[in-house]
Subunit: 219 residues, 2 copies
């Protein structure tokens, strides 16, 4: 399976090795590959450990994507709409796994945007009309995404998306990573639910003093 990851932040650096260990061919897209490989960017450590990773521009990464594979939107929330818009034609027909949060993590106050009557997942689906956007992983710290057992034996990961086949493909990947409780909430509109949980994630992490926790739907 060919997996393209857009973005070189923490989510990319934790998901890329996990995908490689599942046998995926992984291509990483970034704004400026030379800048990412220069200076002290933490991506350099990943590149040194995994020379099989290819780092290219966003446009080249999308051009390399396979419609039977997966494209992961791991660009940070506030910036991702602007970065994704020019890629809309290339992403048509692709499954886009979106893990973004509608929050600027550099802000001290927690204000989500969009929220309540819209979500970043829906905005991305509108920007990428021909793509099949599946929202997932956004209720979890990046460390926990590829390693559910890092926090406990059984917690829940959520799916939101309008295309059943796309959700099935993402669910299969999640199960390969060890996720046992994959809950399909419904259409991409339900991204509002998981994105609004961000406030609970932040307050819980402050109360517990750790990012290593997960939400389980007990039923």
């Amino acid at each position: 399976m060919k997996t393209v990851i857009l973005g070189t932040g923490e989510v990319c650096r934790l998901l890329a090795p996990a995908f490689l260990s599942l046998g995926h061919e992984v291509v990483v897209g970034t704004r400026d590959p030379e800048a990412t490989l220069a200076g002290n960017h933490p991506y350099r450590l990943l590149a040194a450990r995994h020379p099989e990773l290819r780092l290219v521009s966003f446009a080249d990464a999308v051009a390399a994507a396979d419609r039977s594979g997966l494209v992961v939107n791991a660009i940070s929330g506030p910036a991702c709409l602007e970065a994704l818009a020019p890629l809309a034609d290339g992403l048509a027909g692709h499954v886009v796994m979106d893990v973004s949060s509608p929050y600027d993590w550099s802000r001290p106050d927690v204000v989500l945007d969009p929220v309540n009557t819209d979500s970043l997942g829906e905005a991305i689906q509108r920007a990428l009309l021909g793509a099949f956007v599946v929202k997932t992983f956004n209720t979890l710290a990046a460390q926990v995404m590829p390693r559910p057992d890092a926090v406990g034996p059984d917690h829940t990961v959520f799916l939101s998306g309008d295309d059943e086949a796309a959700k099935a493909r993402v669910a299969e990947l999640l199960r390969a990573l060890g996720w046992r409780d994959v809950l399909d909430l419904g259409g991409i509109v339900t991204a509002r639910a998981t994105e609004m949980m961000l406030r609970m994630w932040i307050d819980t992490s402050r109360a517990l003093g750790t990012h290593l926790f997960g939400f389980k739907i007990v039923r």
Copy 2:
């Protein structure tokens, strides 16, 4: 212990018998006691089963409250600020356990108000300046509040409030009802977190086809 419940809806009808079985003296407040006992109001069934329950006006219920006990705000979300405001003087010095949601359940579309930069819990604390507001139970169906084991062996109930002693009193009550995982999120500002989870509660209940579930923080 003396417990005053404001509101005669589903939350009152499920919590009142639970408090009675813990040995509390329970007084219920409503806008118009005569109207509540006339016609087909479902409160009549509760009153018939539990003649020891006293039903009085909101003002008389607050006058009957005990500062060593608890006042429960079980008035439905959008209406409760208007109903509570005239009771502010009487509620000074009391612990007010607030279970409200910032949502009009008669609306087909899910729009929370307030949300994101404010919460109903904070608005109630501002309206009841001398009271000690503790937000809890608002991530759960009314049926689950007094019976955590209705959905599984172990899930989480959250507390938000600015007064530690008030939260300790509410936590003691929750433990008496069988709650084992009581998570103190912090000040009343963290009511934003649990109130914004309402969207997740609604989408999960739609996905599962039941109200009988709970959120567990797995850590």
